[in-house]
């Protein structure tokens, strides 16, 4: 096996830095999932987002009843609090990546958070994506896919994002009375994006049947997730040759289906392929994916087995970096390489956070608390490489060393940041810059440093 500690730190972790020894072998990367499962740097609890949503709803109701009421200050304060919390969450997510001993766990949290892409589209629930990931993804990264699937699909943010809370069984109590019907959005994405994959063998009929089965899943701002029998479609629903449900409908029927879905071979192949594509290559070795798929199925969806299969396979360690760091990963790797202290990354004023993190990330293609679609950010290397995004990466990379002021010698830094694998061109550029800060900036802005 071609295992290189420096390459592995870049490919599977947060990159290299003077304060972090790269993993000595694949086992160390795997072990780090346990030791890094409880990261420092807290994220705003989902409950806080819910509380704010209730307050916002109350303010709006007051305004509706009394248009003259002066609530601008209250609404503004609430919005500001939400925004500040989102900035703090961004800083925490960045710090978790930048300061983890290895960072594989933080990278996987991002991977699964993107796999179960969901966000609040304005309205009373705002800027809540990090809180959602913290509640649904983070606890299950080292658990089973089944548990993660349950947590994500039943979460209010997902239900709202994919319109499940608007879907009403036509023959349910509410459906019959109010002539409301199904919304297939979540059902379709659950099969296409979250489990079986776009290549999965399912039909429109399966989607429709699943939409019927999923009715009843909803939420309210007081309790959060709720199963509402009055909108649940009653009766037996047959999908993939198995019968689910009954009269009346229970949440357990939905969970039973989700659990079955989690262990289907197509789900295993989809997840294995996506994970290998994310970490290794746009076109991963089919033997690697097959090995991961088999391990996942053998272990009944135990994600630790899936990761082990990835890390232990030689094809995961072929030399060369074929993927591109996402904007936040680039930032974290830069902070790590330059040993920027956590205090300089967290607790920033709104102005500084906005200028230094939020706006640059937005310009690089990772807007605050947003995903571009239910499919999340694209996972091919070229996804992040657009002229505008590269200009934004360059701006940020050239600015970071200026901001720090005191920077190392670029000629030494180029080896440190690239683990001794820097090309002659990059060494030349680092040494040929007019100033130290520009030399550092050029290393950070280089395609080589953007690769992982």
């Amino acid at each position: 096996m071609n295992f290189s500690p420096a390459s592995a730190a870049i490919r599977f972790g947060s990159g290299l830095g003077p304060g972090h020894a790269p993993p000595a072998n694949p086992g160390e990367i795997w072990e780090s999932l346990h030791s890094e499962a409880q990261p420092a740097f807290p994220i705003t609890p989902w409950q806080t987002r819910l509380d704010h949503a209730r307050e916002r709803r109350a303010l709006r109701r007051t305004l509706r009843d009394d248009p003259e009421a002066d609530l601008r200050t209250d609404l503004r304060d609430l919005n500001r609090a939400d925004r500040m919390a989102a900035f703090a969450d961004l800083e925490a997510n960045l710090a978790r990546l930048a300061y983890a001993p290895v960072g594989f766990h933080a990278r996987l949290t991002r991977f699964w958070g993107n796999h179960f892409a969901a966000m609040a589209q304005g309205g009373i629930l705002r800027l809540a994506r990090s809180s959602y990931i913290e509640e649904t993804i983070q606890p299950h990264v080292t658990g089973t896919f089944r548990d993660m699937l349950r947590a994500a699909i039943l979460h209010p943010l997902m239900l709202a994002y994919l319109d499940q809370n608007r879907s009403v069984g036509p023959f349910s109590q509410v459906g019959r009375r109010r002539r409301r019907g199904l919304n297939e959005n979540l059902a379709r994405e659950l099969l296409e994006l979250h489990t079986l994959g776009p290549e999965g063998s399912y039909t429109q009929e399966d989607v429709t049947q699943l939409a019927r089965l999923l009715t009843g899943l909803t939420f309210d701002l007081d309790e959060g997730f709720r199963f509402e029998p009055r909108i649940a479609e009653p009766g037996i629903i047959e999908i993939f040759g198995k019968r689910y449900g009954g009269r009346p409908m229970f949440l357990e029927h939905v969970l039973e289906f989700l659990d079955d879905l989690a262990e289907r071979p197509e789900t295993a192949a989809h997840l294995a392929g996506k994970l290998a594509r994310h970490f290794v290559s746009d076109a991963p070795d089919p033997q690697l994916v097959a090995h991961m798929t088999a391990s996942y199925l053998d272990a009944k969806g135990d994600l630790m087995a899936l990761y082990r299969a990835l890390l232990e396979h030689p094809a995961a360690h072929t030399p060369g970096h074929r993927k591109v760091r996402a904007p936040m990963e680039l930032m974290a790797a830069s902070l790590r390489a330059l040993e920027v202290a956590p205090e300089q990354v967290t607790g920033l004023s709104a102005r500084v956070a906005n200028r230094w993190l939020v706006q640059p990330l937005d310009a690089m293609g990772e807007p605050l608390e947003q995903v571009p679609s239910p499919a999340g950010h694209g996972d091919l290397a070229a996804y992040w490489v657009t002229p505008q995004a590269l200009a934004a990466r360059t701006l940020w990379a050239m600015a970071l060393p200026v901001r720090l002021g005191d920077v190392p010698d670029p000629r030494a830094f180029v080896d440190l940041a690239l683990g001794g694998q820097a090309s002659e061109t990059l060494r030349f550029a680092a040494a040929g810059a007019e100033t130290r800060v520009e030399g550092i900036g050029l290393v950070l802005a280089s395609p080589e440093f953007s690769r992982r």
């Binding site: 070229a382 002229p387 590269l390 200009a391 200026v402 007019e434």
Partner: protein, 396 residues
């Protein structure tokens, strides 16, 4: 000698919202605004004389700034960089884009030392060269954490020095003003200036990766001087800002200008940097008004460039180079310190202009005459171990 980091404080609130600040705040709305700046450091000192030190980072080509058109070897050595100029004394001519400086020359407010350098030799690294220039020491540099700058050591000799509110526009730390004496730095908003050298190097880097090549070149075009993304450094605004502070209690200021590393197509690459330098000088003169008469400006670089043009119309890292002096306080309108000539046997290592005198001696004598110090104190503290030799009489 240990650098006292706490002595440098960051002022987050601008002192004044007039003039340059208003301008920079207006510019400051862009994404690039906050962090993309070079500190200029200012310090308050007693007396009425003003000193501005401009560090030209990247190795300014003195032979192109001040073209020795009278030297018979020039056309052969520099076929594309010797065609014309703004004649000064029959031997030397200013680079054509510096025509705006001619009135200063005529008024005796501009002078050049054409062949000088720091004691740094042979390695020709920008970073080390700049550290030598700013530390003002000879021989091996002290360890990074123990370094301080010669302008800061000057402050320790002056009575009644106070930390001043200081301001920054530019892109680099100013080692020259770091040290035990109190100074202040400030970083106002400005656009990022990606220097021509950085653009060139980045374009090599992007080209080397097929995935990044096309998008990278487009990004650089968007970012170039003519594009909207990364505009040129605002040297004039910087000068205005420095001048405004000098109207108050500030007496010493230092800032950087970049864009001098012209390895390629120098005929095109150097004018933007020269234009910035000219704008800075004219901006200082215009805004200082009557105080210009008490002002000395020194623009210095880490080393000069090869006397021969290279194969790509540029020049490479050299040794001897030019020191530019300006201000109403100087005895200008003249070339100082002699000319070694460009004959093969007159060159340093057969490739570079021979420095005739240590640049620190010029700076040291200027400081002595400006601030009424003993030459021995300069040689003991500001430039330790320097042999000051004769006074070149830079000031009026």
């Amino acid at each position: 000698m240990r650098r006292q980091r706490p002595a440098i404080t960051e002022a987050h609130q601008p002192l004044s919202r007039r003039g340059f600040l208003g301008q920079s705040l207006a510019l400051g709305c862009s994404l690039a605004a906050a962090p993309l700046v070079t500190p200029i450091a200012l310090a308050g000192a007693p007396g009425e004389n003003r000193l501005v030190v401009i560090i030209l980072r990247g190795a300014m080509d003195g032979l192109d700034l001040l073209r020795p058109l009278g030297d018979p070897f020039l056309p052969e050595l520099r076929p594309s960089l010797s065609d014309e100029g703004v004649g000064l004394d029959g031997h030397f001519a200013l680079h054509p884009v510096l025509e705006g400086l001619l009135p200063l020359w005529q008024a005796g407010e501009l002078a050049f030392v054409p062949a000088t350098s720091t004691p740094y030799r042979d390695r020709r690294s920008h970073f080390d060269g700049q550290d030598h220039l700013e530390a003002g020491t000879a021989g091996a540099l002290p360890p990074a954490l123990a370094r301080d700058g010669w302008l800061n050591r000057l402050l320790t000799l002056l009575p009644g020095v106070e930390g001043r509110t200081a301001f920054a526009v530019g892109r680099t730390r100013m080692l020259i003003l770091e040290g035990e004496a109190p100074i202040t730095q400030w970083t106002p908003g400005t656009e990022l200036a990606l220097s021509p050298q950085s653009q060139l190097l980045l374009s090599y880097l992007f080209e080397a990766d097929p995935l990044f090549a096309e998008a990278g070149q487009t990004a650089l075009k968007m970012s170039g001087p003519s594009g909207t993304g990364l505009v040129a450094q605002d040297a004039e605004g910087l000068a205005h800002f420095v001048a405004e502070q000098m109207q108050g209690a500030t007496r010493i200021a230092s800032f950087s200008l970049t864009g001098w590393d012209t390895h390629q197509a120098q005929a095109r690459a150097l004018p933007p940097a020269l234009t910035q330098l000219q704008a800075a000088l004219l901006g200082l003169r215009a805004r200082l008004g009557p105080l210009w008469a008490q002002t000395t400006v020194m623009a210095m670089t880490e080393f000069g460039r090869t006397v021969r043009e290279n194969g790509t119309g540029g020049t490479d890292h050299g040794t001897g180079g030019a020191l530019l002096l300006a201000g109403g306080a100087i005895k200008g309108g003249r070339i100082i310190g002699g000319w070694p000539g460009l004959a093969e046997n007159a060159l340093y290592a057969g490739r570079d202009l021979m420095p005739l005198r240590d640049i620190r001696a010029y700076a040291g004598w200027a400081l002595r005459d400006m601030f009424g110090l003993e030459a021995s104190a300069i040689a003991a503290t500001v430039f330790p171990g320097l042999d000051m030799e004769a006074n070149p009489g830079l000031l009026l």
